[in-house]
Symmetry: C2
Subunit: 409 residues, 2 copies
């Protein structure tokens, strides 16, 4: 069976995470496929603002964290190691590191002409969560997308900030998942350019306050400041993104400067931005799934289509297999579905069992090859269990065009 | 300039790694682009043997390492952390973890019908190298591709082993880099199914012994066993891959069993396989580069084509820009070159400087728009600095077909 990549060893498709330690998980094949799609989607968005991809080391020397004062500020949430001559932690974030990279690599070369400069990565981050819970929603080892931006002036930095907010909103729109953008506390950071992106859900641990008239939202640090609490509606949210205008806080510390037209070094105006990649996936599943099974934003479903074969050895099996092979090849040639079609040929299982299983896993489209399959009269049942109307329309048109023998449920 | 993704902020394209700590590096944009290509190439090969991608946690609890006895065996090379209730290390390899995942996830469900089962990942590994050196050739945090295979019998495991060796050889062939497959010591592992893949290079730290008559090779553990040392040629190699037949060593420990047709649980026959991803990249650069600059296997060059613009403000600049825009758009539409073309429009630099710089970076194809550019008579100089004849032929044909005004150097 492993020699047939089309069925992709179905057993493995029913497992998404496997616990490693408390708050730490292994990601199983369908989850990896979904996370790679999510990462590609973010890559596309980052390309639109000309951000370039880096990969910062996960191990990070104490020196830069002492300089910023955050070795102590993070305290027990920092995971430290026994490595080498000096202390090292596992990076939960990279403001210090990215500033040091730029100053040590481009010292004296970085000019106003090179700005705006935008660097990002999507990789594993670490945080010693005292109370990890709810699977990927709050864990100790997680995937995060972090973006660091460098500008010449505050005005330019605000333009960058707005450009990032725009691509964040586009990104969530493509996932077809509603988010609430809430003004966040400025705290130690300064300015009023900090916002959080929340997916509203009962399991959310953050309190968001929304003005029923304007739709504006604030996190709990911000309310009462601008609005009276009793006029606002309180909801629970899962924080999935955060944007900060940082000013010169880190660029001054690490001498991350650019040269002005008259060759004077000036610290860059910075912003930093984060998307919780594994958390976004978990939050989407939390919000979209129903009692009958998991439901995925179709752009990041591990597979878009599942073809269900008749029971091995049954009277429909032979014709069903021929039909599945035909449909599989046709669908694979359709760019939207390349590597996105899987065949359920689990031995010994009935069509009913396989259909129910496909429904549990939440493939956006399930095609069941079962009833009255013979050479004269072939038809299959098409089940669309996907909330996205656009994809449904596309799939229906495609099916009608290529497989007139099918019945769309 | 950041608003123009085509020039991709050229300054950033001249930096590949940036030191973080001793033996630990940040990967800069062109290196990330190259590593992503390398990872995709491996993904393709893994797909050919129906291996499925997982992502195992980097933090790993002491319990599984104590069970195998490798917590002490790795000793000081294991990087440990302060995390949580029990001790955790940063995984240098995942035999224990993958066995535990399978037994805890599929306990009682894994049957002979599900085998062969092949799981792989490409992610960051950690090892406390006592003497990290030569950049990415020997470091403490590195990218590695690791594959774990599970079969019903030794015969089936050997078939899997040979299939993996075949895709490894295809992989190196696609990189156009010669490797030597050397028989490695069986040591504690058992059987004679262990081989190393070496890129031969003066800087290599491993001694390989080659039989001049047959071309067979052995690593230093193996010689004298089968051949007399004085009949063999000794060469230096960089170990870039390793394949092991493991038998039931780990599957017995972790009760990673499958059910036979008569429902008897039997430990799986295992293999494990590794490709040093960052090391392969470094070794290729080490072997291919010349005194005039870096040279890449063209499939993993960060960009395949660099378009060199005339100096800003020069008399050729305006027409040159129009020509570059035209060529850029045409090349981008060519699937082979999508996202693989970059424009050097560095301000204040002459064509000579830019051409030399492009040569240093080693773009496989450089097109210089410089001489006699006017509306009547446009031509550009094409420099092909790539060792791959196949790509050269393809590029030449393409250029001849689309840009008859060009002169191929």
């Amino acid at each position: 069976r492993a020699s047939d990549s089309r069925s992709a060893n179905l057993l493995l498709q029913s497992s998404f995470i496997s616990p490693s330690s408390k708050g730490i998980y292994h990601f199983m094949p369908p989850l990896v496929k979904s996370l790679e799609k999510l990462t590609s989607l973010i890559d596309e968005k980052m390309k639109n603002i000309c951000a370039q991809k880096v990969q910062m080391s996960m191990l990070s020397g104490k020196d830069i964290w002492s300089l910023s004062g955050r070795w102590d500020a993070f305290g027990k949430e920092l995971i430290t190691t026994n490595l080498g001559e000096a202390k090292h932690c596992l990076s939960p974030t990279h403001e210090e590191a990215v500033c040091k990279v730029l100053s040590q690599t481009f010292n004296k070369f970085l000019s106003y002409r090179h700005l705006p400069l935008r660097l990002y990565q999507t990789n594993t981050k670490f945080r010693n969560e005292p109370d990890p819970q709810r699977g990927l929603l709050r864990c100790r080892e997680f995937l995060m997308n972090d973006l660091y931006t460098f500008d010449t002036t505050k005005k330019a930095a605000v333009e960058t900030y707005n450009a990032v907010c725009n691509i964040y909103e586009e990104f969530f729109k493509e996932l077809n998942i509603p988010v609430t953008k809430a003004q966040a506390g400025s705290g130690l950071i300064g300015g009023d350019f900090s916002h959080e992106y929340h997916i509203l859900a009962g399991v959310g641990e953050d309190n968001i306050f929304i003005c029923p008239d304007t739709g504006q939202a604030w996190n709990s640090e911000c309310t009462n400041i601008e609005k009276k609490l009793d006029t606002l509606k309180q909801v629970d949210g899962i924080e999935v993104g955060h944007t900060f205008y940082l000013g010169k806080k880190y660029s001054k510390m690490f001498k991350t400067s650019f040269l002005t037209p008259d060759s004077k070094p000036v610290p860059c105006e910075m912003g930093c931005y984060g998307l919780g990649v594994t958390r976004i996936l978990a939050a989407c599943l939390e919000v979209l799934s129903t009692e009958s099974g998991m439901r995925w934003p179709h752009k990041i479903a591990p597979y878009k289509v599942c073809l269900v074969l008749p029971k091995t050895g049954s009277k429909e099996f032979e014709n069903g297999t021929a039909a599945v092979n035909n449909v599989f090849d046709k669908l694979q040639n359709y760019p939207l579905l390349k590597n996105d079609v899987i065949i359920d040929d689990t031995p010994k299982r009935s069509i009913g069992w396989k259909t129910k299983h496909a429904n549990l896993i939440g493939y956006p489209l399930v095609i069941v090859f079962g009833k009255g399959l013979n050479s004269e009269e072939q038809y299959a049942e098409v089940i669309i269990q996907n909330p996205d109307q656009q994809l449904n329309f596309l799939l229906r048109s495609f099916i009608m065009q290529h497989f007139i023998f099918m019945y769309c449920a």
